[in-house]
Symmetry: C2
Subunit: 146 residues, 2 copies
């Protein structure tokens, strides 16, 4: 079964990656290649900054060091949302997990993540919000929910 | 790295599972336990029918046998959407990948999937659509887009 799980991870269309305690990318699958535009040989060994938009790096690393030093995260079962940056500089809306990786003695090795590109969904929802705001602006005052 | 990938898969909040050529569940991670409400020991060895709503089973298996016999799927890089069924009978909206698993000689072993519970997003979008329809119904005809 282990070889099948490895194949599943390698071939997943979701970006699956592992970073070590220092935030250096140690594993990068096919989905990450598709979503971000870097091959595994280009990404492995680089900092996660590779895919973090510059204006979000400060906040990212503050959280990352805290999680790595404390071994605790508040996102155990939930999913996070944040924009990522592709090779061509464009933004991608990501929804992702954060999975703590420890050795058998419990020492932190780094973290893993499963990232899904939710740009299309995000844009669909944004368009609906805009259409709703436009419509509400056209309503006569008496028909509005005042 | 293999042991870290295995840990990542085991602990992922996404449901990650493997089914064999016959559609029998062979691997079931922590996320699948959380989303569907069955433990790994309850799910492994059972048919995928465990999580497929009854009215969708015919369509599911038709597609499944076709993929297993042809070794081809049209969903190589994309994501599928379908409702699943939890242990308590309630529905869950799922967005998932389908990853072909083959042995080294290329023979089909089954398939793997990474499933994300998108029920909350789905409901948010549905509510927006309803609000928009309600608003459009209240618009004076002259302000409508006729």
């Amino acid at each position: 079964m282990d070889s099948q799980l490895k194949l599943l991870v390698e071939e997943s269309p979701d970006a699956i990656l592992v970073a070590d305690r220092e935030g250096i990318i140690r594993y990068w699958n096919r989905g990450a290649e598709l979503i971000f535009g870097y091959t595994a040989s280009e990404a492995v060994g680089k900092s996660l900054d590779l895919i973090i938009p510059e204006n979000l790096r400060g906040r990212h690393w503050e959280g990352y060091w805290q999680v790595m030093s404390s071994g605790e995260t508040k996102y155990k079962t939930g999913l996070l949302s944040a924009p990522g940056q592709r090779r061509d500089g464009s933004r991608v809306s990501l929804q992702f997990s954060m999975i703590m990786l420890r050795d058998e003695a419990g020492a932190m090795l780094g973290c893993g993540t499963v990232m899904r590109d939710v740009t299309a969904q995000w844009e669909k929802e944004k368009k609906l919000r805009e259409q709703l705001a436009d419509c509400q602006a056209k309503l006569p005052v008496s028909a509005g929910e005042l």
